[in-house]
């Protein structure tokens, strides 16, 4: 059976398509904000950001909730913190993780903390991402 979905916003990520499905986001914590480009990652359980952004927000990264995250062939340490994420016209509170080491140079928008907030459509061939909040038409 055919299904029709409608979305409130489309986002063309052509300019950074070589490095992934790139989404501009703003993180805010404690009155400080950082703007960055993150990659939509449906394979990531959580949102992970580079350590430098946490530091710039004034967070003591190691004071957050520590967890190990695993990749296909390794693991690394991250620390969880409460932040507010702004993305396009939307803003919401979230719990995200910052890498313990600066060697992790990747920002991932994963399922908990970001994807759970949205309905998502994707036409990778055209580099277009469609988004609505999960509870909006």
């Amino acid at each position: 059976m055919a299904t029709t979905l409608t979305f409130q916003r489309s986002h063309d990520y052509t300019a950074r398509r070589d490095s992934g499905i790139t989404v501009p986001v703003t993180l805010t914590a404690g009155g400080s904000s950082v703007r960055l480009h993150a990659k939509l990652d449906t394979g990531a359980s959580v949102c992970i950001f580079e350590r430098a952004y946490g530091e710039q927000l004034g967070l003591k990264v190691e004071d957050g909730r520590p967890i190990q995250v695993r990749t296909a062939n390794s693991e690394f340490q991250v620390y969880g913190h409460d932040v507010t994420i702004a993305c396009f016209d939307w803003q919401f509170d979230s719990f995200v993780f910052f890498a313990a080491t600066t060697e992790i140079q990747r920002n991932a928008l994963g399922r908990q903390g970001w994807l759970h907030q949205f309905r998502v459509g994707l036409i990778e061939y055209d580099s277009v991402l469609y988004l609505s909040r999960y509870n909006q038409e």
Partner: protein, 123 residues
């Protein structure tokens, strides 16, 4: 559709400019090219002044465009952008944040991935 960047040749733009304007009114951006080199860009007029520079969505689009057109000059390095204004370049995020300390706005700070970087296979 809106929100897309569409590349057309200068001949195509001249032959059907009305159609180009319709696309811009719908929110698309048109890059007019001659021999695959961009010579002009048509984009929707900004709806308001950007904070510390303008409309946030337009600012983000400007940054995407800037990275597409200029990014490879800074491949592998970190840049701070506010719209299409390059504020700082450095070898790390910390270095860039130090360079823009005291800047009134909230610039985009990002690493420019080199085009020839090894493919990322996911975590």
């Amino acid at each position: 559709m809106g929100g897309r960047v569409i590349h057309v040749s200068d001949l195509e733009a001249v032959s059907d400019f009305a159609s180009m304007l319709d696309r811009v009114r719908a929110g698309d951006e048109i890059v007019i090219e001659h021999d695959s080199y961009p010579v002009a860009v048509l984009r929707p007029a900004a709806r308001g002044a950007l904070p510390g520079g303008g409309n946030g969505l337009e600012r983000e689009r400007s940054e995407f465009r800037w990275l597409a057109h200029n990014g490879q000059q800074y491949a592998g390095r970190w840049v701070a952008l506010d719209g299409d204004a390059l504020l700082a370049v450095g070898d790390s995020a910390r270095e860039v944040y130090a360079a823009i300390a005291g800047y009134a706005g909230t610039p985009l700070v990002t690493r420019v991935e080199p085009e020839d970087e090894v493919y990322f296979a996911g975590w």
